[in-house]
Symmetry: C2
Subunit: 349 residues, 2 copies
C-alpha cells in the first residue's frame, strides 16, 4: 500500500500506550469520504486530524449522526482480518435511514475499513485479545435552523489500537430511573442520541463502584435490555439467553454471533423477554448460573455481580460458559479456528 | 461596541435574503467560549466560520450536545432587547446537567447573547414579526471510545436574522408510529438526540402535505406532547390548555409565557394531560375551538387542520384566540406594551 510521506511519517512516529487499554489513543490514520449534491465522492486516507464543521451543522445541533464499532485482528493470520464488517455496513445503513442520512455504499464502507487497517499494520497489536478497533461515523454537515436534516454528509473512520473494554469481571447496576430509548425511537440503531442520555447513569453507576448500568425497557420498566455500551447474555437452565430484540435494543453483532456459536458449543440459544425480577430470583435459585456482557469492544466479559438498589446478587459461576464463548469467538477472530461461516474479511483483498 | 476590522467588514458586506424567511442564513458573527481543565475561559466574538472538532468528539459520536433558541427584537425599542434570555440560560443549564456537561455561567450566557446582538445591530430586521434568532450551543470536545463524556467543552452562539418559522396557518399530522423521547430519557431538555429521531417523521409528514407531526406520549401513546420544533396549545371550553409537563415534553418558554399571559387576556389557563382521541372529538363537537403552535421560532402559529391517518379534522376557528395571544406576546417583545414582568433584557446594558 502506497502511503503519502506525511502519513508514513505519522505512522512511524506513533507510540502505542503501555498498558494498551481500550480506546486510550486514536491511531494517526483516518479515512474520509463526502456525500455532496446527492453523490458519494471518492474516499481518502489521511492523517488523523480535527475536521472543520459548521457550528450549527445538523450533526452538532440535532444529533444527525451515527457510528459503528468493529475490529481488525492480526494474531495468527498472514494479514489483518476484519470480523463481519458487512454486518456493520448493514447496520450503519439502517442507522442512516432512520436518521435521514444516505446509505454509505457497502463497497465504500469496506474499502474504508480495509484501507485504514492496511495503513495501520505497523501499529496493530498482535497479542490475543488485542486488535485494531475501528470507528466509522456518519454526520450531517449542513447548518439548519428549522428541524430538518442535511443534504451533505461526511463518512469518517478513525481507529484505536486496543485491548478489551474491560480487563476483569464486571459488576452491573440495574437502572431503575433513566431509560435509554423510547419505543418508536432510535434505540435499535447506533444513533449518538441513544448514548448522550446514557452518560449520566453510566457515570453514577461508576461513582457507586459498578461498571455498567443495566437498562430496562422504557414502557413496563421490567424487561432487561442492554448495558450502556454492550449487550447482555444469561445462562438460564443451561441455555444461552439474550433479551429479544424489541425495537429499543441495539442488535449487537457479537450478540448475534454468540447465539449462532451456541450451537457449536452444544447449547440451546434463546432470544426472549427477560424480566429483571425473575432474573434476580433465578440467580438466587441457581437457575441462572452465569451472566456476561458481549460486544465488539467488550468481546465476552463475565459479570460477577448484579445489583438492584440495595439487593446485591452475586453470580454463582463467573466466566465458565463465558470463557467457552470467548474462546470460540476469539478462535475464529484470531485465526486459530476454521471460519466456516465466512465471517472474516482479509483486509489485504 | 468596538469590533475587529475583519468582523466589521463581514457585517458591512452581509446581505440579508429576500424574502427573509426563518433561518435561511447564518449571521457573520459568532460568540465562542471554551471550558478547559475545569474552568470557563473568556468568551470571544468572532467571524462566523467552521470550527475544528475531533472527528470522534463526544458531541459527534455520543451526541453530547445541547442547544437553545431565543430572539432579540428591535421594533419599537431604542436598543435591541432579548426576550427572557435568563430562562434560556436556566434551561441550558438543565440540559447540560442531564448530559454531563458543565453549566454555562448565567453571566457568560447573557454576555454572549448580548454581544452577538449588539454586533449584529446593522443586520437586525425591524419589521413586526421579525427578529434576530440566536442559537446558543454546547458541545463535548474530547474523543472517547468507551461510553463517557468529555472533560472539555465549547459554548458557541450563532444567529440568523429571521421572520417567523411558518408564514401561515399549519396543518398537523398525528404521529402514531415513532416516539420522540422515552420516559426517563432526555425529552424535557434540549438535547440534540431528541431531534435526530424526529427528522424522519417530520420529513414524512411534509411529504404528505402537512407541516409538523404531533407527538404522542411514549408509554400509552395517547396523550399529546408537542410538535417537532414547538409546543402546542388548545382552546378547550374557553380555556387555554397545554399538555402537562410530564418529563418527556420540552418546557417551552413561549408556552410558559402564554400560560401567564392568559390571565391578562381574561382566560383560564390549564396544564393537563390531553388525550388525542378526546381532542379530536372535542374539535368535532366544538368544545375545542382552536389549536395553535407556540415557540420561540414559531411565535404563536394557528393550526388549521389536525389529521390522524385518514381522519382529517378541520378546526372551526383559526387564528382568533391565537391572534390575541400573538398580539399580546409581540406587543411586549416588540416594545409596544408595558413589560410589567421584567421579561425584556436590553442588549446594550
Amino acid at each position: 500500500m502506497n502511503l503519502s510521506p506525511t502519513l508514513s511519517t505519522a505512522i512511524s512516529n506513533f507510540q502505542l500506550p503501555d498498558p494498551l487499554g481500550f480506546g486510550r489513543v486514536t491511531g494517526p490514520v483516518m479515512f474520509v469520504a463526502d456525500y455532496i449534491n446527492g453523490a458519494w465522492q471518492a474516499g481518502e486516507l489521511m492523517t488523523y486530524e480535527p475536521i472543520a464543521l459548521n457550528p450549527a451543522a445538523t450533526s452538532l445541533q440535532f444529533a444527525q449522526q451515527c457510528f459503528e464499532g468493529l475490529k481488525a485482528f492480526w494474531v495468527e493470520q498472514d494479514e489483518p482480518a476484519l470480523f463481519r464488517p458487512d454486518e456493520n455496513a448493514k447496520r450503519m445503513a439502517r442507522s442512516a435511514e432512520r436518521l435521514c442520512m444516505p446509505e454509505v455504499p457497502h463497497t465504500l464502507f469496506l474499502d474504508g475499513v480495509k484501507a485504514v487497517t492496511q495503513a495501520m499494520k505497523p501499529l496493530i497489536p498482535r497479542r490475543s485479545g488485542e486488535s485494531l478497533y475501528l470507528r466509522p461515523m456518519l454526520y450531517g454537515m449542513d447548518t439548519q435552523y428549522p428541524l430538518a436534516g442535511s443534504d451533505n454528509f461526511r463518512f469518517a473512520i478513525v481507529c484505536s489500537p486496543s485491548a478489551a473494554y474491560f480487563a476483569k469481571p464486571i459488576s452491573v447496576l440495574v437502572e431503575r430511573d433513566a431509560c435509554r430509548a423510547a419505543v418508536g425511537g432510535t434505540g435499535d440503531v447506533k444513533a449518538g442520541g441513544n448514548y448522550a442520555g446514557s452518560i449520566q447513569a453510566t457515570r453514577r453507576c461508576i461513582e457507586r463502584g459498578y461498571d455498567q448500568p443495566l437498562w430496562l425497557d422504557p414502557v413496563e420498566r421490567r424487561l432487561i435490555e442492554e448495558l450502556s455500551a454492550m449487550n447482555i447474555c444469561a445462562i438460564i437452565d443451561g441455555a444461552l439467553c439474550s433479551p429479544a430484540l424489541n425495537g429499543t435494543i441495539l442488535p449487537g453483532i457479537t450478540r448475534a454471533t454468540l447465539l449462532t456459536l451456541a450451537d457449536d458449543l452444544g447449547m440451546p440459544a434463546l432470544e426472549q423477554p427477560i424480566d429483571i425480577n425473575s432474573l434476580l430470583d433465578d440467580i438466587d435459585s441457581g437457575r441462572c448460573s452465569e451472566l456476561f456482557a458481549c460486544g465488539t469492544a467488550a468481546i465476552v466479559n463475565p459479570i460477577a455481580v448484579l445489583a438492584d438498589g440495595q439487593r446485591i446478587t452475586r453470580l454463582q459461576q463467573v466466566d465458565a460458559e463465558a470463557a467457552r464463548f470467548k474462546a470460540a469467538l476469539l478462535g475464529i477472530q484470531e485465526g486459530r479456528s476454521a471460519d466456516s461461516r465466512g465471517w472474516m474479511f482479509n483486509s489485504a483483498e
